[in-house]
């Protein structure tokens, strides 16, 4: 039984090494696949919890602790990344759309602003006070913006 487990463990390690080798050969940086939640430098938050992040994105909380309005950003053409981000918040993309529509039509808030791509998103966030969004970690320039948290890769959790 023990021998069996050792063999399986060894096989897993070899598989991981092979995967890292493939990534290295392909020139892929593991951080490039990770999603970072980024915000403007002056946002008074350092590492919001998942619940706080959900409160911002559902519009339950619309101001930062300093009273400045939270400006939400989303990506227009990156369904894969949106799905990963909203999965992390425990919602599907369609449920989030339903929540935003309810807020908008009740006069209680607006849906996030849409950036065409990640480059535009990080550029806008670096220039817009109170803004928050998500992008690949390697695009987040920590000199120009705050990286509030890095979303764990769901595959790693499994």
């Amino acid at each position: 039984m023990c021998q069996c487990r050792t063999q399986i463990g060894l096989r897993c390690r070899l598989t991981s090494l092979a995967l890292l080798g493939v990534l290295a050969i392909g020139g892929l940086n593991p951080s490039a696949a990770q999603i970072a939640v980024v915000a403007h430098q002056q946002v008074p938050a350092d590492s919001p919890s998942r619940r706080e992040l959900l409160d911002y994105y559902t519009g339950d909380i619309q101001t930062w602790t300093n009273g400045r309005r939270v400006v939400l950003y989303d990506l227009r053409n990156n369904e894969q990344m949106r799905t990963a981000f909203y999965d992390y918040l425990g919602k599907t993309s369609s449920r989030m759309k339903a929540i935003w529509l309810r807020r908008k039509l009740s006069g209680e808030g607006a849906p996030p602003l849409l950036a065409d791509d990640e480059h535009q998103l990080v550029d806008t966030i670096s220039r817009t006070e109170g803004s928050i969004g998500f992008a690949h970690l390697d695009l987040a320039d920590s000199l120009k913006m705050k990286v509030l948290l890095v979303i764990p890769d769901p595959a790693e959790n499994n």
């Binding site: 602790t65 425990g90 993309s93 759309k97 009740s106 006069g107």
Partner: protein, 396 residues
């Protein structure tokens, strides 16, 4: 001549009243003064829902088919400052045309909201108060999967089911928000509004307000509240209102004479409305349910009025864009006196599907079987209706 004086006198006081209101507003809302320098554009948006309906009466074998522009709402919203928002909502129902005298056109909301904190607000002006889960959003058709909404929320049935008797449709001051705890959010709302004794222009109440329509003719106001618990997947709440109603608007003075009670016994009766709501989501499943009870606390034990409503809906997301549901809804309306008896009982099992064709377009299809039992002074009338509805909801 007296009338002229009584009408011009208040006008002379108007500038003073305006100054007082402005001073009060400036002291209550400190950001208001700075807000004047912020010039943001007014936002105009809205939605409409067109439908096709077919109804078949199994008793009379009569079939009716119609296209209808069920509802159109236009919103005007303006941010007056960081914490101050104004909002106006115009609504038309049932292919509105004043020229043809079809449908209705309503000013549904005109309010000003001030954020008093990160999770609390005060809203002043004509508004739809928070009562159960659906009241606030019942007329936002793109949010709901239904072509035919739960009965007391179906605005286009207002000519048949008296929605306003079941749910409070208007408030004028509301404080609401939530309190975060470790486990869940505690939602709260408290509001004041007009009671049901609104001067519709058809009565001759000899009161000061009888000159104007759309105003409350009684000396009391509606008081309402909701308390709820909400986590990311479950929402539950209890709502209630207290108001005074005038049964003389429902029955005539002959009833008082026949019962040998003073007509004052049918005036300003205390009416209590109690509601409960529960909604939850689990994976791709959703459940929603509500109940409403309306009772009149009767000072003379000869008049009894009972209204109840409930609905339950079980739904499932069939992929990212399609939502299917089955639902059961029911209203029960009983007015009972020793000489007048009226009972209306409506039960409607229904199922349907909503397909989100895009962010702005939702197509809906629904089937409902309505079982209507009406009993009035020993006459019993039953109707069994098959109802098909297709609708297209468009966000502007």
């Amino acid at each position: 001549m007296d009338n002229v004086h009584s009408q011009t006198h208040p006008r002379n006081r108007t500038p003073l009243a305006c100054c007082l209101i402005a001073l009060l507003a400036a002291s209550c809302f400190p950001h208001f003064a700075t807000a004047q320098s912020v010039r943001r554009p007014i936002e105009v948006f809205g939605y409409f829902q067109n439908g096709f309906e077919q109804q078949y009466d199994t008793q009379s074998k009569r079939r009716s088919t119609t296209f209808v522009m069920q509802q159109l709402n236009l919103f005007f919203q303006k941010e007056l400052g960081n914490d101050l928002t104004s909002f106006v909502n115009f609504e038309t129902v049932n292919s509105f045309s004043s020229y043809r005298r079809w449908g209705a056109f309503n000013l549904e909301e005109a309010w000003l909201r001030y954020r008093t904190g990160r999770s609390s607000n005060i809203k002043v002006g004509l508004q739809i108060p928070i009562f159960n889960n659906l009241n606030e959003i019942s007329n936002r058709t793109p949010i709901l999967p239904y072509a035919l909404r739960p009965l007391v929320y179906e605005t286009s049935f207002n000519e048949i089911i008296p929605n306003e008797e079941y749910v409070p449709n208007r408030a004028f001051v509301q404080y609401y928000g939530f309190h975060q705890t470790d486990l869940a959010k505690i939602d709260y709302a408290a509001y004041l509004g007009n009671g049901p004794n609104i001067n519709g222009g058809y009565d001759n109440d000899q009161t000061e307000n009888s000159l104007r329509t759309g105003v409350d003719t009684s000396q009391t106001v509606l008081v309402g509240a909701r308390v709820g618990l909400r986590s990311s997947h479950v929402k539950v709440g209890l709502s209630g209102t207290l108001e005074h109603t005038n049964l003389l608007k429902v029955v005539d003075t002959e009833l008082a004479e026949a019962l040998d009670i003073p007509t004052s016994d049918l005036l300003d009766l205390t009416q209590v409305r109690l509601g409960g709501d529960f909604s939850a989501e689990y994976r791709s499943f959703e459940i929603e349910s509500e109940f409403i009870m309306v009772r009149i606390k009767d000072p003379s034990p000869v008049v009894s009025l009972r209204r109840t409503f409930y609905y339950v809906m079980l739904g499932k997301w069939l992929g990212e864009r399609t939502f299917g549901f089955v639902s059961m809804m029911s209203t029960f309306d009983k007015f009972d006196t020793p000489i007048v008896f009226q009972l209306a009982d409506v039960d409607v099992p229904t199922f349907g599907v909503a397909v989100h064709l895009s962010d702005a377009l939702t197509a809906k299809g629904q089937y409902a079987y309505a079982m209507v039992n009406v009993e009035e002074d020993l006459r019993i009338h039953k109707e069994r209706l098959h109802y098909f509805a297709f609708a297209l909801s468009v966000v502007l």
